[in-house]
Amino acid sequence: MSAEQLVSKAPQGTPEPDHGDVFTMVVAHADDNLVVSHRLGELISNAPELEIDIALGNTALDHLGVARALYTYAGQIEGMGRGEDELAMFRSEREFTNLLLTEQPNGDFAHTIVRQFLFDAYQLQLWTDMAGWDDETISGIAEKALKEASYHLRFSSGWVMRLGDGTAESHERTKNAAKELWKYTAEMFEGERASLRSGWEATVSTVFDGATLTIPEDPYQRTGGRSGFHTEHLGLLLAEMQWMQRSYPGLQW
């Protein structure tokens, strides 16, 4: 079986997004951050210790802040009067273009942390790159997001190591989490983002080594998020997130 046959993409017939369009690109990254923020928001009052609850909440707020800045900018680029809430609350599952990784459920703490770590390592590369772009709004957002991403990465990589090299139970759970989430990693480096991959791989290898984890071997990858071809989790997430606005449209909150 060729390597290509192991990458599951959006099926024939699904329209491809126009990656050259700045609006589409900005919205995709906004969607990533909103969805991660929402997932972390589900954990509030459920964390293993009070200090962890606070840290996750702060991280959720950071991601939400980035999402809001990006949505606002996207709306301005589009010029059709859509603001952050129109974009977040009134786009359907098929219009959301977040990475599949971000919509995966929290599961146990190992799943939450591995998901966060893989995403943080990606955002570190992404914002480092974008901080140097000519578009001042984007580079400004990226600079701030980069500072936060470094902080998030330190937290999540620290926990990957604690869990990977903690007890036998924590090692097993972390190994399973990595195995389940690995198939959503190739998607991060599609198209122009391919250049971010080597930096990401270096971070992930170093941390996995320190955590006594091995890079999962299964070559299978699932992509499609950037085309709105999601896993079955996103619909449920949006149903909850968008419910108030959809039930009571056109009101001020």
Partner: protein, 114 residues
């Protein structure tokens, strides 16, 4: 005050300290923060963490809301020694005084029975 909970008739306000604790708890750390250059570090409170890195991250999250330019020190509570001018007699007798009662003192029976 508002978060004071009254004792219902028939209930007792005395609490025995629970002995049924599962698992080891994380050690306690004292947190010192210097809000900006030019002033000294101030003791600001404590928290629980398994290691120094987590203690520092937690301290920054909780006590500084990750304020930039803020310096944070953490010290394991067991490593903090103190002189207390009005300390109760039983503490004066000990050779080394530690700031926090919880960790190293053998609290006299009546006091320890909470």
């Amino acid at each position: 005050m508002t978060y004071e909970v009254p004792v219902a008739p028939g209930e007792t306000a005395d609490i025995e300290t629970s002995t049924d604790l599962s698992g080891e708890s994380w050690p306690m750390w004292e947190v010192f923060v210097r809000a900006r250059r030019g002033i000294s570090h101030v003791h600001i409170g404590s928290l629980h963490a398994p290691d120094p890195e987590t203690a520092l991250e937690n301290a920054r999250d909780v006590y500084t809301r990750r304020g930039e330019g803020v310096s944070v020190w953490v010290v394991p509570s067991t490593e903090l020694y103190a002189f207390e001018p009005d300390a109760a007699a039983e503490y004066v007798e000990a050779n080394e005084k530690v700031y926090r009662l919880a960790t190293t003192y053998d609290i006299p029976e009546e006091v320890g029975q909470m």
